[in-house]
């Protein structure tokens, strides 16, 4: 994996982030409910969750991409010492794309269909004053080369629709890396791609991150991707982190019942037979964190103490768990191969 220096200060630190959506005529929705994490240079952090977990909203909040009307953001997001939540739009523009960059999920709709790839790349370069106008096309071609697009010079004149999905995602990555950001946030970067293309793109991300010691925050619902890419993992449910830890201990001995449920319900390519044990109920079967543990309606190990007060994120052996009744050590997920 990458070489992470644990003695340095975290590059990006999110502390007690809360995002509330107020729509006219309905009750306010707390999409993110007190999330804290940090990432260091060269580290790859995985944020795992399903729809409704708040993982995408968290990434949008970091970059200040949430709409202004009807959205309330509280907490603290510090990058390199500066507090992003109180920064002006001007200051954010200096950070966005240049120091903290993002790769979005759907390469089909994330690129402007009426501009050539070259134009979109050079626009990024010139906007952040990375180089002069004359140099820009050369740099753009070099970027395309770096992300493994053959015939880079010729591709600069192509429009997005002339490229395949995998290529478009590489272009997105090239755009994100154009200014050599310190932190790269990738929100479901490979979900819309075929599995062989996904492997290519993830391989690319691994290489690039290792080369330039960029911190990578990988947001996904795919546990397999996380197992292969990330140093540390946070599992989100209903707006809060419910388990977090280094990847080996977390996958080998997950303590929170949601994490265990996820791992038990995902079919695996390398294991033969066996029944899938789904998590009962649906993501809609949830209670407010204020009333207790949001996962309680679906939890196979729910007890009376799970209700009434919300559980706190506590350290437990090798991980942090938000549960008053976590799975005991020694209860491995898998039978021996």
């Amino acid at each position: 994996m990458s070489k992470v220096d644990n003695s340095t200060e975290p590059l990006l630190a999110v502390t007690d982030l809360k995002v509330t959506f107020n729509t006219r005529g309905t009750t306010p929705v707390r999409a993110v409910d007190g999330v804290s994490f940090s990432v260091r240079a060269g580290e790859t952090l995985g944020v795992v969750g399903e729809s409704g977990s708040g993982k995408s909203v968290t990434s949008l909040a970091i970059l200040g991409l949430l709409p202004e009307r009807g959205v309330q953001v509280e907490g603290s997001i510090t990058f390199d010492g500066a507090e992003l939540l109180t920064s002006s739009e001007r200051e954010m523009q200096a950070v966005r794309g240049r120091r903290v960059a993002m790769v979005f999920q759907d390469p089909m709709s994330s690129l402007n269909p009426v501009l050539t790839i070259g134009r979109q790349l050079t626009e990024v370069l010139r906007r952040h004053h990375v180089c002069h106008k004359a140099e820009a096309p050369g740099r753009a071609a070099a970027l395309l080369d770096r992300v493994g697009i053959p015939e880079a010079r010729r591709r600069l004149d192509n429009y997005p629709h002339q490229l395949s999905g995998g290529m478009r995602q590489r272009v997105m990555i090239a755009m994100a890396l154009a200014c050599e950001p310190a932190v790269l946030i990738a929100d479901e970067p490979t979900t819309a791609l075929d599995v062989t293309i996904q492997a290519q793109v993830l391989e690319l991300l691994r290489e690039l991150v290792a080369q330039s010691n960029t911190a990578l925050i990988l947001i996904t619902h795919d546990l397999g991707v996380v197992a292969g890419m990330c140093d540390r993992v946070h599992v989100m449910y209903s707006g809060r982190i419910v388990e977090s830890g280094e990847r080996h201990p977390l996958f080998a001995q997950p303590r929170h019942h949601y994490t265990r449920g996820l791992l038990a319900s995902v079919p695996r390519l390398d294991l033969v037979g066996g029944k899938l044990t789904p998590i009962s109920g649906s993501p809609r079967d949830v209670i407010d964190w204020a009333d207790g543990c949001a996962f309680a309606p679906r939890c196979p190990a729910v007890t009376e103490s799970c209700l009434g007060t919300p559980p706190a994120l506590e350290p437990l052996d090798d991980t942090f768990v938000r549960c008053v009744n976590p799975a005991p050590l020694g209860q491995s997920m898998w039978k021996a191969d």
Partner: protein
């Protein structure tokens, strides 16, 4: 364990709202009800429809009676007074009564013409969307031809054939709407055809008729309804405009807002109220339809809100 489940149920019960099957129509209606702009628009529409219906009972005088002609001078026309709340027109008739009766003409022409035009158009669109193939091509070429003729030219030609009459105006308002609604319904149907639930109904074994009528058409009506409401506004304006140009009834005494505007041109300097009153009335009616139409569009497509 039982108490934990009960406790959970009570906590979750607070969040779940039990509605017994709210169809999309009911939800649309709910959204409309809470939209203030929609209610204002609807209010205006209802108001004018009511005065159109009850004009004979509401009007204080006969709209065609030129009884007060002796009060008219070349340079002055009496404005609002106690006896005539909106004053007199240039021929000595009571403005208020003419406005009230005028609502009938405008709204009837507007609504009836549009209704006829939209129905014929929808019928064409339905055939084109349901059968596809050469039926579709033929119908589309016909609508192309209809769209190629400018509306005004069409109206004048119709007047030339039918003579100056309210029927001519109605036909002139109805005809341009035919290709509009035909295309609208057809394109909605084509879009819905691609959706999986139509495939599912086909694979279940449904024949063409139930497939089109039970599945495709009900889901294709949305855009047509919105367009219909907005087209009503245009129809009222078009009817007034054609009357203004002299295409309406040959009888100058017929109370019709557009004709009233035309007649008032000569008196713009001395008696502006002759132009302003019918103008404002047209404006408010059309605004009402537009506001309601826009609100309806928003209510039908919840993704548009925000």
């Amino acid at each position: 364990m039982a108490t934990v489940q009960e406790h959970l149920q009570s906590l979750m019960g607070n969040r779940v709202v039990e509605t017994s099957g709210s169809s999309l129509t009911r939800e649309t209606w709910n959204r409309l009800r809470h939209n203030r702009i929609a209610l204002v628009g609807l209010g205006v529409i209802v108001f004018f429809v009511l005065i159109a219906i009850f004009a004979p009972w509401l009007a204080p005088h006969d709209p065609r009676a030129t009884t007060w002609f002796d009060q008219i001078r070349p340079s002055s026309v009496p404005g609002p007074s106690r006896e005539h709340l909106l004053g007199l027109d240039e021929s000595g008739r009571d403005m208020l009564s003419r406005i009230l009766y005028g609502a009938r003409a405008s709204l009837i022409i507007g609504i009836v013409s549009l209704g006829i035009g939209a129905s014929i158009g929808a019928a064409f669109g339905l055939l084109a969307g349901a059968f596809g193939g050469w039926v579709d091509s033929v119908i589309m070429r016909i609508t192309d031809v209809m769209l190629a003729v400018p509306g005004l030219l069409l109206a004048l030609s119709i007047a030339a054939v039918l003579g100056q009459s309210q029927v001519a105006v109605m036909v002139a308002v109805a005809v341009p709407n035919i290709p509009l609604f035909a295309r609208l319904l057809r394109s909605s149907m084509l879009a819905e055809r691609q959706k999986d639930y139509v495939n599912a109904a086909t694979s279940v074994g449904l024949g063409r008729r139930p497939l089109v009528m039970s599945h495709i058409v009900p889901n294709s009506l949305g855009p047509m309804i919105v367009q219909g409401t907005l087209a009503l506004a245009t129809a009222v304006i078009d009817a007034a405009a054609l009357s203004f140009l002299g295409l309406g009834s040959a009888d100058p005494g017929v109370p019709e807002w557009g004709r009233m505007l035309a007649n008032a041109q000569r008196y713009l300097n001395v008696a502006p109220h002759l132009s302003i009153i019918p103008g404002v009335v047209i404006f408010i009616t059309v605004l009402g339809f537009n506001l309601f139409g826009e609100a309806l569009r928003e209510a039908l497509d919840p993704k548009l809100r925000r």
